[in-house]
Protein backbone atom coordinates (compact mmCIF):
# COMPACT_ATOMS: atom_id res chain seq x y z
CA UNK A 1 0.00 0.00 0.00
CA UNK A 2 2.88 2.37 0.85
CA UNK A 3 4.50 1.60 -2.52
CA UNK A 4 1.18 2.34 -4.23
CA UNK A 5 0.91 5.60 -2.28
CA UNK A 6 4.47 6.49 -3.17
CA UNK A 7 3.84 5.79 -6.87
CA UNK A 8 0.60 7.79 -6.89
CA UNK A 9 2.14 10.77 -5.13
CA UNK A 10 5.12 10.69 -7.45
CA UNK A 11 2.71 10.91 -10.37
CA UNK A 12 0.92 13.87 -8.82
CA UNK A 13 4.01 15.82 -7.76
CA UNK A 14 4.59 17.37 -11.18
CA UNK A 15 1.02 18.24 -12.02
CA UNK A 16 1.59 20.01 -15.29
CA UNK A 17 3.66 17.17 -16.71
CA UNK A 18 1.19 14.60 -15.43
CA UNK A 19 -1.68 16.54 -17.00
CA UNK A 20 0.09 16.66 -20.36
CA UNK A 21 0.86 12.95 -20.19
CA UNK A 22 -2.72 12.17 -19.22
CA UNK A 23 -3.94 14.26 -22.16
CA UNK A 24 -1.60 12.45 -24.52
CA UNK A 25 -2.50 8.97 -23.26
CA UNK A 26 -6.18 9.81 -22.80
CA UNK A 27 -6.33 11.35 -26.28
CA UNK A 28 -4.74 8.23 -27.72
CA UNK A 29 -7.26 6.08 -25.88
CA UNK A 30 -10.18 8.22 -27.03
CA UNK A 31 -9.13 8.09 -30.68
CA UNK A 32 -8.36 4.38 -30.72
CA UNK A 33 -11.53 3.45 -28.85
CA UNK A 34 -13.67 5.52 -31.23
CA UNK A 35 -11.86 4.19 -34.27
CA UNK A 36 -12.35 0.64 -33.03
CA UNK A 37 -15.97 1.35 -32.23
CA UNK A 38 -16.72 2.70 -35.71
CA UNK A 39 -14.74 -0.10 -37.38
CA UNK A 40 -16.41 -2.79 -35.34
CA UNK A 41 -19.81 -1.10 -35.70
CA UNK A 42 -19.47 -0.86 -39.48
CA UNK A 43 -18.23 -4.44 -39.83
CA UNK A 44 -20.95 -5.59 -37.53
CA UNK A 45 -23.58 -3.80 -39.61
CA UNK A 46 -22.06 -5.13 -42.82
CA UNK A 47 -21.61 -8.73 -41.72
CA UNK A 48 -24.97 -8.86 -40.05
CA UNK A 49 -26.60 -7.65 -43.26
CA UNK A 50 -24.47 -9.80 -45.51
CA UNK A 51 -25.04 -13.04 -43.66
CA UNK A 52 -28.72 -12.39 -43.26
CA UNK A 53 -29.18 -11.54 -46.90
CA UNK A 54 -26.86 -14.01 -48.55
CA UNK A 55 -25.55 -17.04 -46.74
CA UNK A 56 -27.51 -17.10 -43.50
CA UNK A 57 -25.48 -17.92 -40.41
CA UNK A 58 -25.40 -21.65 -41.07
CA UNK A 59 -26.30 -23.76 -44.09
CA UNK A 60 -27.43 -27.36 -44.05
CA UNK A 61 -26.55 -29.10 -47.31
CA UNK A 62 -25.65 -32.46 -48.74
CA UNK A 63 -22.01 -33.33 -48.06
CA UNK A 64 -19.71 -31.60 -50.56
CA UNK A 65 -22.35 -29.21 -51.90
CA UNK A 66 -20.81 -26.11 -50.28
CA UNK A 67 -17.44 -26.77 -51.92
CA UNK A 68 -18.82 -27.87 -55.32
CA UNK A 69 -22.52 -27.12 -55.81
CA UNK A 70 -24.11 -29.72 -58.08
CA UNK A 71 -27.75 -30.01 -59.08
CA UNK A 72 -27.90 -33.61 -57.94
CA UNK A 73 -26.56 -33.08 -54.41
CA UNK A 74 -29.84 -32.29 -52.70
CA UNK A 75 -31.61 -33.25 -49.53
CA UNK A 76 -35.20 -34.31 -48.95
CA UNK A 77 -37.32 -31.83 -47.08
CA UNK A 78 -40.87 -31.64 -45.78
CA UNK A 79 -42.75 -29.29 -43.44
CA UNK A 80 -42.01 -31.52 -40.44
CA UNK A 81 -38.27 -31.28 -41.11
CA UNK A 82 -38.48 -27.50 -41.20
CA UNK A 83 -40.52 -27.35 -37.99
CA UNK A 84 -38.07 -29.61 -36.20
CA UNK A 85 -35.12 -27.53 -37.38
CA UNK A 86 -36.84 -24.33 -36.29
CA UNK A 87 -37.36 -25.83 -32.84
CA UNK A 88 -33.63 -26.40 -32.33
CA UNK A 89 -31.97 -24.17 -29.72
CA UNK A 90 -30.44 -20.90 -31.00
CA UNK A 91 -32.28 -21.16 -34.33
CA UNK A 92 -34.23 -18.00 -35.15
CA UNK A 93 -35.40 -18.61 -38.73
CA UNK A 94 -35.01 -21.15 -41.51
CA UNK A 95 -35.62 -21.05 -45.24
CA UNK A 96 -34.95 -23.60 -48.01
CA UNK A 97 -33.37 -22.77 -51.35
CA UNK A 98 -32.76 -24.47 -54.68
CA UNK A 99 -29.91 -23.06 -56.73
CA UNK A 100 -28.87 -23.81 -60.26
CA UNK A 101 -28.53 -22.15 -63.63
CA UNK A 102 -30.56 -21.92 -66.80
CA UNK A 103 -30.80 -20.15 -70.11
CA UNK A 104 -33.49 -17.47 -70.02
CA UNK A 105 -35.41 -16.27 -73.08
CA UNK A 106 -37.32 -13.07 -73.57
CA UNK A 107 -39.29 -12.32 -76.67
CA UNK A 108 -36.24 -12.07 -78.90
CA UNK A 109 -33.12 -12.61 -76.81
CA UNK A 110 -31.58 -15.17 -74.50
CA UNK A 111 -29.32 -14.74 -71.47
CA UNK A 112 -27.67 -17.19 -69.02
CA UNK A 113 -29.06 -16.75 -65.51
CA UNK A 114 -28.74 -18.06 -61.99
CA UNK A 115 -31.96 -19.60 -60.80
CA UNK A 116 -32.91 -19.55 -57.14
CA UNK A 117 -35.99 -21.30 -55.83
CA UNK A 118 -37.28 -19.89 -52.55
CA UNK A 119 -40.11 -20.24 -50.09
CA UNK A 120 -41.49 -16.69 -50.54
CA UNK A 121 -42.86 -16.33 -47.02
CA UNK A 122 -39.90 -17.82 -45.19
CA UNK A 123 -37.41 -15.97 -47.39
CA UNK A 124 -39.08 -12.65 -46.66
CA UNK A 125 -38.77 -13.36 -42.95
CA UNK A 126 -35.08 -14.09 -43.20
CA UNK A 127 -33.37 -12.15 -46.00
CA UNK A 128 -33.92 -8.65 -47.39
CA UNK A 129 -35.10 -9.89 -50.78
CA UNK A 130 -38.58 -8.48 -50.33
CA UNK A 131 -37.09 -5.04 -49.61
CA UNK A 132 -35.15 -4.90 -52.86
CA UNK A 133 -37.99 -4.78 -55.35
CA UNK A 134 -37.47 -1.96 -57.86
CA UNK A 135 -40.74 -2.66 -59.63
CA UNK A 136 -43.66 -5.10 -59.42
CA UNK A 137 -44.84 -7.30 -56.60
CA UNK A 138 -43.24 -9.96 -54.44
CA UNK A 139 -43.54 -13.66 -55.30
CA UNK A 140 -46.43 -15.87 -54.33
CA UNK A 141 -46.05 -19.63 -54.31
CA UNK A 142 -49.25 -20.17 -56.26
CA UNK A 143 -49.51 -19.98 -60.08
CA UNK A 144 -51.69 -17.24 -61.59
CA UNK A 145 -55.04 -17.84 -63.23
CA UNK A 146 -53.30 -18.82 -66.46
CA UNK A 147 -51.29 -21.43 -64.59
CA UNK A 148 -48.00 -19.52 -64.73
CA UNK A 149 -45.74 -19.27 -61.72
CA UNK A 150 -44.34 -15.83 -61.04
CA UNK A 151 -40.61 -15.07 -61.37
CA UNK A 152 -38.63 -12.13 -60.02
CA UNK A 153 -35.69 -11.13 -62.17
CA UNK A 154 -32.51 -9.16 -61.60
CA UNK A 155 -31.92 -5.82 -63.32
CA UNK A 156 -29.32 -7.23 -65.68
CA UNK A 157 -31.67 -10.01 -66.79
CA UNK A 158 -34.40 -7.46 -67.42
CA UNK A 159 -32.06 -5.29 -69.47
CA UNK A 160 -30.50 -8.11 -71.49
CA UNK A 161 -33.81 -9.74 -72.32
CA UNK A 162 -35.74 -6.47 -72.61
CA UNK A 163 -38.47 -7.81 -70.36
CA UNK A 164 -40.40 -6.06 -67.63
CA UNK A 165 -43.05 -6.72 -65.06
CA UNK A 166 -45.93 -8.74 -66.55
CA UNK A 167 -43.84 -10.11 -69.44
CA UNK A 168 -43.29 -13.76 -70.07
CA UNK A 169 -39.96 -15.46 -69.42
CA UNK A 170 -38.87 -18.86 -70.61
CA UNK A 171 -36.25 -20.90 -68.79
CA UNK A 172 -34.42 -23.83 -70.31
CA UNK A 173 -32.06 -26.10 -68.42
CA UNK A 174 -31.43 -29.70 -67.41
CA UNK A 175 -33.44 -31.45 -64.72
CA UNK A 176 -31.91 -33.47 -61.88
CA UNK A 177 -33.24 -36.62 -63.52
CA UNK A 178 -31.41 -35.79 -66.78
CA UNK A 179 -34.51 -34.59 -68.58
CA UNK A 180 -34.73 -31.33 -70.49
CA UNK A 181 -36.22 -28.67 -68.21
CA UNK A 182 -38.20 -25.80 -69.75
CA UNK A 183 -41.05 -23.72 -68.54
CA UNK A 184 -42.79 -20.39 -68.94
CA UNK A 185 -43.05 -17.82 -66.13
CA UNK A 186 -44.59 -14.41 -65.67
CA UNK A 187 -42.23 -11.66 -64.42
CA UNK A 188 -43.73 -10.29 -61.20
CA UNK A 189 -40.89 -8.00 -60.10
CA UNK A 190 -37.49 -6.53 -60.91
CA UNK A 191 -35.05 -7.01 -58.03
CA UNK A 192 -32.01 -4.90 -57.14
CA UNK A 193 -29.82 -2.83 -59.43
CA UNK A 194 -27.39 -3.58 -62.26
CA UNK A 195 -24.54 -3.79 -59.72
CA UNK A 196 -26.28 -5.83 -57.06
CA UNK A 197 -25.76 -9.53 -56.39
CA UNK A 198 -29.23 -10.37 -57.75
CA UNK A 199 -28.50 -8.77 -61.11
CA UNK A 200 -28.23 -12.02 -63.09
CA UNK A 201 -30.72 -13.92 -61.02
CA UNK A 202 -34.17 -15.36 -61.61
CA UNK A 203 -36.03 -16.07 -58.41
CA UNK A 204 -38.83 -18.65 -58.51
CA UNK A 205 -41.16 -20.01 -55.88
CA UNK A 206 -39.68 -23.19 -54.39
CA UNK A 207 -42.49 -25.35 -55.75
CA UNK A 208 -41.89 -24.01 -59.29
CA UNK A 209 -38.14 -24.59 -59.04
CA UNK A 210 -38.68 -28.13 -57.75
CA UNK A 211 -40.95 -28.84 -60.72
CA UNK A 212 -38.56 -27.19 -63.17
CA UNK A 213 -35.49 -29.12 -62.04
CA UNK A 214 -37.42 -32.35 -61.43
CA UNK A 215 -36.58 -32.27 -57.71
CA UNK A 216 -39.90 -32.95 -55.97
CA UNK A 217 -39.59 -32.55 -52.18
CA UNK A 218 -35.90 -31.70 -52.45
CA UNK A 219 -33.76 -28.63 -51.84
CA UNK A 220 -30.10 -27.73 -52.10
CA UNK A 221 -29.63 -25.54 -49.06
CA UNK A 222 -31.38 -24.92 -45.81
CA UNK A 223 -30.46 -21.42 -44.72
CA UNK A 224 -30.46 -21.02 -40.94
CA UNK A 225 -30.42 -17.73 -39.08
CA UNK A 226 -29.12 -17.91 -35.52
CA UNK A 227 -29.04 -15.31 -32.76
CA UNK A 228 -25.61 -13.91 -33.59
CA UNK A 229 -23.57 -14.26 -36.77
CA UNK A 230 -20.39 -14.33 -34.66
CA UNK A 231 -21.54 -17.55 -33.01
CA UNK A 232 -22.18 -19.30 -36.32
CA UNK A 233 -19.37 -21.88 -35.91
CA UNK A 234 -20.90 -23.04 -32.62
CA UNK A 235 -24.37 -23.18 -34.17
CA UNK A 236 -22.98 -25.10 -37.16
CA UNK A 237 -21.41 -27.65 -34.83
CA UNK A 238 -24.68 -28.01 -32.95
CA UNK A 239 -26.77 -28.40 -36.12
CA UNK A 240 -24.25 -30.71 -37.76
CA UNK A 241 -24.97 -33.28 -35.08
CA UNK A 242 -28.69 -32.80 -35.44
CA UNK A 243 -28.61 -33.00 -39.27
CA UNK A 244 -26.49 -36.14 -39.23
CA UNK A 245 -29.12 -37.90 -37.13
CA UNK A 246 -32.11 -36.42 -38.93
CA UNK A 247 -31.05 -37.34 -42.47
CA UNK A 248 -29.61 -40.71 -41.63
CA UNK A 249 -29.98 -41.95 -45.24
CA UNK A 250 -27.97 -39.06 -46.77
CA UNK A 251 -24.67 -37.43 -45.93
CA UNK A 252 -25.84 -34.05 -44.70
CA UNK A 253 -23.84 -31.51 -42.80
CA UNK A 254 -24.06 -28.00 -41.36
CA UNK A 255 -21.54 -25.32 -42.33
CA UNK A 256 -21.04 -21.84 -40.89
CA UNK A 257 -21.06 -18.76 -43.11
CA UNK A 258 -17.35 -18.29 -42.43
CA UNK A 259 -16.77 -21.49 -44.43
CA UNK A 260 -19.51 -21.00 -47.03
CA UNK A 261 -18.20 -17.50 -47.85
CA UNK A 262 -14.57 -18.21 -46.96
CA UNK A 263 -13.09 -15.67 -49.40
CA UNK A 264 -15.38 -12.91 -48.22
CA UNK A 265 -14.65 -13.77 -44.59
CA UNK A 266 -10.87 -13.72 -45.16
CA UNK A 267 -11.09 -10.39 -46.96
CA UNK A 268 -13.06 -8.90 -44.08
CA UNK A 269 -10.59 -10.20 -41.53
CA UNK A 270 -7.64 -8.84 -43.53
CA UNK A 271 -9.39 -5.49 -43.76
CA UNK A 272 -9.92 -5.48 -40.00
CA UNK A 273 -6.26 -6.31 -39.43
CA UNK A 274 -5.36 -3.29 -41.55
CA UNK A 275 -7.43 -1.14 -39.17
CA UNK A 276 -5.60 -2.64 -36.20
CA UNK A 277 -2.26 -1.67 -37.73
CA UNK A 278 -3.44 1.96 -37.88
CA UNK A 279 -4.41 1.70 -34.23
CA UNK A 280 -1.03 0.28 -33.22
CA UNK A 281 0.77 3.08 -35.10
CA UNK A 282 -1.36 5.66 -33.30
CA UNK A 283 -0.57 4.11 -29.94
CA UNK A 284 3.12 3.89 -30.81
CA UNK A 285 3.19 7.63 -31.51
CA UNK A 286 1.45 8.35 -28.21
CA UNK A 287 3.91 6.15 -26.36
CA UNK A 288 6.96 7.81 -27.85
CA UNK A 289 5.73 10.97 -26.10
CA UNK A 290 5.16 9.01 -22.91
CA UNK A 291 8.67 7.55 -23.06
CA UNK A 292 10.00 11.10 -23.13
CA UNK A 293 7.90 12.06 -20.09
CA UNK A 294 8.88 9.03 -18.05
CA UNK A 295 12.52 9.41 -18.98
CA UNK A 296 12.48 13.07 -17.93
CA UNK A 297 10.78 12.19 -14.68
CA UNK A 298 13.36 9.47 -13.96
CA UNK A 299 16.28 11.75 -14.78
CA UNK A 300 14.91 14.53 -12.59
CA UNK A 301 14.61 12.12 -9.69
CA UNK A 302 18.00 10.45 -10.13
CA UNK A 303 19.26 11.81 -6.79
CA UNK A 304 16.12 10.66 -5.03
CA UNK A 305 16.48 7.19 -6.50
CA UNK A 306 20.03 7.20 -5.18
CA UNK A 307 18.64 7.84 -1.69
CA UNK A 308 16.03 5.12 -2.08
CA UNK A 309 18.75 2.69 -3.07
CA UNK A 310 21.02 3.91 -0.27
CA UNK A 311 18.43 3.10 2.37
CA UNK A 312 17.94 -0.39 1.03
CA UNK A 313 15.55 -0.32 -1.93
CA UNK A 314 16.56 -3.19 -4.18
CA UNK A 315 17.05 -2.62 -7.92
CA UNK A 316 14.03 -4.83 -8.58
CA UNK A 317 11.78 -2.87 -6.26
CA UNK A 318 12.87 0.43 -7.79
CA UNK A 319 12.19 -1.01 -11.25
CA UNK A 320 8.72 -2.09 -10.13
CA UNK A 321 8.04 1.33 -8.57
CA UNK A 322 8.66 3.09 -11.89
CA UNK A 323 6.63 0.51 -13.78
CA UNK A 324 3.83 0.96 -11.24
CA UNK A 325 3.92 4.73 -11.77
CA UNK A 326 3.76 4.26 -15.54
CA UNK A 327 0.94 1.71 -15.23
CA UNK A 328 -1.05 3.95 -12.90
CA UNK A 329 -0.62 6.88 -15.26
CA UNK A 330 -1.91 4.84 -18.18
CA UNK A 331 -4.86 3.42 -16.22
CA UNK A 332 -5.77 6.87 -14.90
CA UNK A 333 -5.62 8.30 -18.43
CA UNK A 334 -7.86 5.53 -19.79
CA UNK A 335 -10.38 5.93 -16.96
CA UNK A 336 -10.58 9.69 -17.44
CA UNK A 337 -10.84 9.33 -21.21
CA UNK A 338 -13.53 6.68 -20.75
CA UNK A 339 -15.78 9.33 -19.20
CA UNK A 340 -15.55 11.19 -22.51
CA UNK A 341 -15.61 8.14 -24.76
CA UNK A 342 -18.76 6.64 -23.26
CA UNK A 343 -21.22 9.38 -24.34
CA UNK A 344 -19.50 9.94 -27.70
CA UNK A 345 -19.56 6.24 -28.45
CA UNK A 346 -23.16 5.99 -27.29
CA UNK A 347 -24.02 8.70 -29.81
CA UNK A 348 -22.13 6.86 -32.56
CA UNK A 349 -23.86 3.62 -31.69
CA UNK A 350 -27.44 4.82 -31.36
CA UNK A 351 -27.47 7.89 -33.61
CA UNK A 352 -24.42 7.55 -35.85
CA UNK A 353 -22.82 9.72 -38.47
CA UNK A 354 -24.90 10.39 -41.58
CA UNK A 355 -23.02 9.50 -44.78
CA UNK A 356 -23.65 9.44 -48.50
CA UNK A 357 -25.70 6.24 -48.98
CA UNK A 358 -23.56 3.20 -49.89
CA UNK A 359 -25.19 0.06 -51.31
CA UNK A 360 -23.91 -3.20 -49.93
CA UNK A 361 -25.50 -6.50 -50.88
CA UNK A 362 -28.45 -4.54 -52.20
CA UNK A 363 -28.98 -2.80 -48.88
CA UNK A 364 -28.35 0.91 -48.41
CA UNK A 365 -26.06 2.05 -45.61
CA UNK A 366 -26.74 5.61 -44.63
CA UNK A 367 -24.65 6.07 -41.47
CA UNK A 368 -21.47 5.08 -39.75
CA UNK A 369 -22.45 3.31 -36.60
CA UNK A 370 -20.35 2.59 -33.53
CA UNK A 371 -20.45 -0.41 -31.27
CA UNK A 372 -21.05 -0.45 -27.51
CA UNK A 373 -19.12 -3.45 -26.29
CA UNK A 374 -16.59 -4.40 -23.65
CA UNK A 375 -14.10 -5.17 -26.43
CA UNK A 376 -14.28 -1.66 -27.88
CA UNK A 377 -13.37 -0.10 -24.51
CA UNK A 378 -11.06 -2.79 -23.17
CA UNK A 379 -8.81 -3.46 -26.14
CA UNK A 380 -7.48 0.11 -26.59
CA UNK A 381 -7.07 0.40 -22.79
CA UNK A 382 -5.06 -2.79 -22.73
CA UNK A 383 -2.94 -1.59 -25.65
CA UNK A 384 -2.32 1.82 -24.02
CA UNK A 385 -1.37 0.24 -20.68
CA UNK A 386 0.90 -2.38 -22.26
CA UNK A 387 2.53 0.15 -24.60
CA UNK A 388 3.11 2.57 -21.70
CA UNK A 389 4.68 -0.21 -19.66
CA UNK A 390 6.91 -1.08 -22.61
CA UNK A 391 7.86 2.59 -22.94
CA UNK A 392 8.71 2.65 -19.21
CA UNK A 393 10.95 -0.42 -19.38
CA UNK A 394 14.11 1.40 -20.38
CA UNK A 395 13.82 4.32 -17.91
CA UNK A 396 12.96 1.85 -15.13
CA UNK A 397 15.91 -0.38 -16.00
CA UNK A 398 18.16 2.68 -16.05
CA UNK A 399 16.98 3.77 -12.59
CA UNK A 400 17.36 0.27 -11.19
CA UNK A 401 21.01 0.17 -12.26
CA UNK A 402 21.98 3.49 -10.66
CA UNK A 403 24.96 3.43 -8.29
CA UNK A 404 23.68 5.17 -5.13
CA UNK A 405 26.71 7.35 -4.49
CA UNK A 406 26.79 8.59 -8.08
CA UNK A 407 23.04 9.14 -8.19
CA UNK A 408 23.05 11.13 -4.94
CA UNK A 409 25.53 13.60 -6.43
CA UNK A 410 22.55 14.85 -8.48
CA UNK A 411 20.73 16.00 -5.34
Amino acid sequence: MLMFKLALRNILRSRRRTLLTLLSLGGGYLLTALQLSVTEGSYDQMLSTYTRDTTGHVQITAEGYVETPRLYDSLSLNDADLSELEAQPNVVAVTPRIESSALAYGETKSFPVDVVGIDPQREAGLSFLADKLRAGTYLTDQPDTDGYFAAMIGAQVARQLSVGVGDELVLVSQGADGSLANDLYRVSAIVGTIDSAESRRVVLPLRAAQQFYAMPGKVHRLIVLGRDYRRAPQLAEQLDGWAGQHWDDTDVGATSWQVVAADFYRTMEADKSGGQVTMVILIFLVCVGVLNTILMSVMERTGEFGVLKAIGTSPGRLFRLIMLEAGLLAILACLLALILVLPINAWFTWVGLEIEPIEFSGVLFTRYAGQMSFYVFAQPALLIVVATLIAALWPAWRAARLVPVEAMRRL
Binding site: L2, K5, L6, R9, V307, A310, G312, T313, S314, L411
Partner: protein, 229 residues
Amino acid sequence: MSTVIETVGLSRHYGSGDTLVKALDAVDLRIEAGEFTAIVGPSGSGKSTLLQLIGGLDHPSEGEVHLAGQPISSYSGRQLSDFRRDHIGFIFQAYNLIPVLSAAENCEYIMLLQGIKADERQRRVATMLQQVGLAGREDRRPSQLSGGQQQRVAVARAMVSQPDIILADEPTANLDSQTGMDLLDMMVELNQRDGMTFVFSTHDPKIMERARRLVYLRDGVVEREERRD
Protein backbone atom coordinates in the same frame (compact mmCIF):
# COMPACT_ATOMS: atom_id res chain seq x y z
CA MET B 1 32.69 -5.41 22.74
CA SER B 2 32.09 -7.05 19.37
CA THR B 3 33.27 -5.63 16.08
CA VAL B 4 30.48 -4.29 13.90
CA ILE B 5 32.49 -3.06 10.92
CA GLU B 6 36.11 -3.51 10.01
CA THR B 7 37.97 -2.03 7.07
CA VAL B 8 41.20 -3.59 5.86
CA GLY B 9 43.46 -1.59 3.54
CA LEU B 10 40.43 0.30 2.26
CA SER B 11 41.25 2.54 -0.70
CA ARG B 12 39.27 4.55 -3.17
CA HIS B 13 41.07 6.01 -6.16
CA TYR B 14 39.70 8.20 -8.94
CA GLY B 15 41.32 8.64 -12.36
CA SER B 16 44.59 6.98 -13.37
CA GLY B 17 48.21 7.72 -14.17
CA ASP B 18 49.14 11.36 -13.65
CA THR B 19 45.55 12.25 -12.75
CA LEU B 20 45.18 9.58 -10.09
CA VAL B 21 43.49 10.91 -6.96
CA LYS B 22 43.64 8.82 -3.79
CA ALA B 23 40.46 9.85 -1.99
CA LEU B 24 41.11 7.14 0.55
CA ASP B 25 44.33 5.21 0.95
CA ALA B 26 44.71 1.94 2.81
CA VAL B 27 42.51 2.74 5.78
CA ASP B 28 42.32 0.14 8.53
CA LEU B 29 39.52 0.82 10.95
CA ARG B 30 37.55 -1.23 13.43
CA ILE B 31 34.20 -0.04 14.81
CA GLU B 32 32.98 -1.77 17.93
CA ALA B 33 29.34 -2.11 18.93
CA GLY B 34 28.02 0.84 20.94
CA GLU B 35 30.79 3.24 19.88
CA PHE B 36 30.13 6.92 19.21
CA THR B 37 32.84 7.69 16.70
CA ALA B 38 33.59 10.88 14.80
CA ILE B 39 35.59 10.83 11.59
CA VAL B 40 37.14 14.26 11.47
CA GLY B 41 39.25 16.13 9.03
CA PRO B 42 39.18 19.06 6.65
CA SER B 43 37.14 19.10 3.43
CA GLY B 44 38.51 16.62 0.91
CA SER B 45 40.17 14.47 3.56
CA GLY B 46 38.05 11.45 2.57
CA LYS B 47 35.48 11.42 5.40
CA SER B 48 32.44 11.03 3.16
CA THR B 49 34.23 8.52 0.94
CA LEU B 50 35.02 6.38 3.97
CA LEU B 51 31.41 6.43 5.15
CA GLN B 52 30.17 5.64 1.65
CA LEU B 53 32.46 2.63 1.39
CA ILE B 54 31.56 1.40 4.89
CA GLY B 55 27.88 1.74 3.98
CA GLY B 56 28.22 -0.15 0.71
CA LEU B 57 27.19 2.86 -1.36
CA ASP B 58 30.38 2.67 -3.42
CA HIS B 59 32.89 0.01 -4.33
CA PRO B 60 36.48 0.25 -2.99
CA SER B 61 39.41 0.34 -5.42
CA GLU B 62 41.35 -1.85 -3.01
CA GLY B 63 40.80 -3.39 0.37
CA GLU B 64 37.77 -4.80 2.11
CA VAL B 65 34.88 -3.87 4.33
CA HIS B 66 33.85 -6.64 6.70
CA LEU B 67 30.48 -6.79 8.35
CA ALA B 68 30.45 -9.29 11.20
CA GLY B 69 33.46 -10.94 9.58
CA GLN B 70 31.89 -11.16 6.11
CA PRO B 71 33.46 -9.17 3.25
CA ILE B 72 30.83 -7.06 1.44
CA SER B 73 32.96 -6.08 -1.58
CA SER B 74 31.90 -9.16 -3.50
CA TYR B 75 28.17 -8.50 -2.97
CA SER B 76 25.90 -8.07 -5.98
CA GLY B 77 23.65 -5.02 -6.33
CA ARG B 78 20.77 -6.87 -4.71
CA GLN B 79 22.92 -8.18 -1.87
CA LEU B 80 24.28 -4.71 -1.22
CA SER B 81 20.72 -3.33 -1.06
CA ASP B 82 19.79 -6.00 1.45
CA PHE B 83 22.98 -5.27 3.41
CA ARG B 84 22.17 -1.56 3.62
CA ARG B 85 18.53 -2.26 4.43
CA ASP B 86 19.25 -4.66 7.29
CA HIS B 87 22.55 -3.46 8.76
CA ILE B 88 23.10 0.23 8.04
CA GLY B 89 21.19 3.37 8.95
CA PHE B 90 22.11 6.48 6.99
CA ILE B 91 21.81 10.11 8.04
CA PHE B 92 22.74 12.51 5.26
CA GLN B 93 23.89 16.09 5.44
CA ALA B 94 20.96 17.27 3.31
CA TYR B 95 18.45 15.02 5.19
CA ASN B 96 17.40 13.34 1.91
CA LEU B 97 13.90 12.46 2.98
CA ILE B 98 11.43 11.24 0.35
CA PRO B 99 9.51 14.46 -0.38
CA VAL B 100 6.15 12.84 -1.20
CA LEU B 101 6.00 10.80 2.00
CA SER B 102 5.07 12.11 5.45
CA ALA B 103 7.46 11.93 8.40
CA ALA B 104 5.85 8.69 9.55
CA GLU B 105 5.83 7.20 6.06
CA ASN B 106 9.51 8.07 5.57
CA CYS B 107 10.28 6.01 8.65
CA GLU B 108 7.85 3.26 7.71
CA TYR B 109 9.24 2.83 4.21
CA ILE B 110 12.47 1.13 5.25
CA MET B 111 10.57 -1.33 7.45
CA LEU B 112 8.31 -2.09 4.51
CA LEU B 113 11.45 -3.09 2.62
CA GLN B 114 12.35 -5.34 5.54
CA GLY B 115 8.98 -7.07 5.31
CA ILE B 116 7.84 -6.02 8.78
CA LYS B 117 4.09 -6.24 9.35
CA ALA B 118 2.01 -3.04 9.25
CA ASP B 119 0.99 -2.94 12.91
CA GLU B 120 4.58 -3.45 14.07
CA ARG B 121 5.76 -0.78 11.63
CA GLN B 122 3.25 1.71 12.95
CA ARG B 123 4.13 0.93 16.56
CA ARG B 124 7.84 1.43 15.95
CA VAL B 125 7.31 4.63 13.96
CA ALA B 126 5.17 6.17 16.72
CA THR B 127 7.76 5.30 19.38
CA MET B 128 10.69 6.53 17.31
CA LEU B 129 9.13 9.83 16.32
CA GLN B 130 8.25 10.44 19.96
CA GLN B 131 11.85 9.74 20.95
CA VAL B 132 13.16 12.29 18.46
CA GLY B 133 10.59 14.84 19.64
CA LEU B 134 8.31 14.79 16.63
CA ALA B 135 5.13 13.41 18.21
CA GLY B 136 2.18 15.19 16.62
CA ARG B 137 4.08 15.89 13.40
CA GLU B 138 3.81 12.39 11.95
CA ASP B 139 1.67 13.43 9.00
CA ARG B 140 3.77 16.37 7.92
CA ARG B 141 5.67 16.16 4.69
CA PRO B 142 9.37 17.18 4.69
CA SER B 143 8.52 20.52 3.09
CA GLN B 144 6.31 21.29 6.10
CA LEU B 145 9.14 20.69 8.59
CA SER B 146 12.14 22.82 9.56
CA GLY B 147 15.68 21.67 8.75
CA GLY B 148 16.22 20.46 12.30
CA GLN B 149 12.92 18.59 12.29
CA GLN B 150 13.77 17.01 8.95
CA GLN B 151 17.10 15.82 10.31
CA ARG B 152 15.30 14.36 13.33
CA VAL B 153 13.06 12.43 10.93
CA ALA B 154 16.23 11.25 9.17
CA VAL B 155 17.60 10.05 12.52
CA ALA B 156 14.33 8.28 13.26
CA ARG B 157 14.38 6.72 9.79
CA ALA B 158 17.93 5.53 10.32
CA MET B 159 17.16 4.01 13.70
CA VAL B 160 13.71 2.56 13.20
CA SER B 161 14.96 -0.40 11.20
CA GLN B 162 17.25 -1.34 14.13
CA PRO B 163 20.49 -1.42 12.11
CA ASP B 164 23.87 -2.56 13.43
CA ILE B 165 25.40 0.84 12.81
CA ILE B 166 24.31 4.36 11.92
CA LEU B 167 26.47 6.32 9.50
CA ALA B 168 25.94 10.06 9.59
CA ASP B 169 27.67 12.23 7.00
CA GLU B 170 28.05 15.74 8.50
CA PRO B 171 24.57 15.53 9.99
CA THR B 172 24.64 19.02 11.48
CA ALA B 173 26.29 20.86 8.62
CA ASN B 174 23.03 22.29 7.29
CA LEU B 175 21.67 23.24 10.70
CA ASP B 176 22.23 26.31 12.86
CA SER B 177 24.55 25.69 15.77
CA GLN B 178 21.85 25.35 18.45
CA THR B 179 19.77 22.94 16.37
CA GLY B 180 22.95 21.06 15.53
CA MET B 181 23.85 20.70 19.19
CA ASP B 182 20.30 19.60 20.07
CA LEU B 183 20.48 16.93 17.39
CA LEU B 184 23.85 15.80 18.63
CA ASP B 185 22.52 15.61 22.21
CA MET B 186 19.74 13.41 20.93
CA MET B 187 22.17 11.11 19.13
CA VAL B 188 24.35 10.87 22.23
CA GLU B 189 21.30 10.02 24.31
CA LEU B 190 20.21 7.31 21.86
CA ASN B 191 23.74 5.93 21.89
CA GLN B 192 23.94 5.84 25.64
CA ARG B 193 20.43 4.60 26.29
CA ASP B 194 20.02 2.06 23.47
CA GLY B 195 23.69 1.24 22.80
CA MET B 196 23.24 2.20 19.15
CA THR B 197 26.59 2.42 17.25
CA PHE B 198 27.17 5.79 15.58
CA VAL B 199 29.89 6.80 13.15
CA PHE B 200 29.65 10.35 11.87
CA SER B 201 31.84 12.67 9.91
CA THR B 202 32.33 16.28 10.91
CA HIS B 203 34.76 19.15 10.91
CA ASP B 204 32.88 21.12 13.58
CA PRO B 205 35.05 21.37 16.75
CA LYS B 206 31.97 21.66 19.01
CA ILE B 207 30.64 18.37 17.73
CA MET B 208 34.01 16.69 17.97
CA GLU B 209 33.98 17.42 21.70
CA ARG B 210 31.00 15.14 22.16
CA ALA B 211 32.50 12.11 20.45
CA ARG B 212 34.07 9.34 22.54
CA ARG B 213 36.37 8.29 19.74
CA LEU B 214 37.90 10.54 17.11
CA VAL B 215 39.50 9.29 13.91
CA TYR B 216 41.52 12.00 12.17
CA LEU B 217 41.73 11.74 8.39
CA ARG B 218 44.01 13.78 6.18
CA ASP B 219 44.46 13.27 2.44
CA GLY B 220 42.71 9.93 2.62
CA VAL B 221 44.94 8.52 5.34
CA VAL B 222 44.21 7.96 9.03
CA GLU B 223 46.46 10.48 10.69
CA ARG B 224 45.71 9.54 14.30
CA GLU B 225 43.02 8.32 16.69
CA GLU B 226 41.85 9.62 20.01
CA ARG B 227 39.64 7.92 22.63
CA ARG B 228 37.83 9.70 25.43
CA ASP B 229 36.39 7.32 27.99
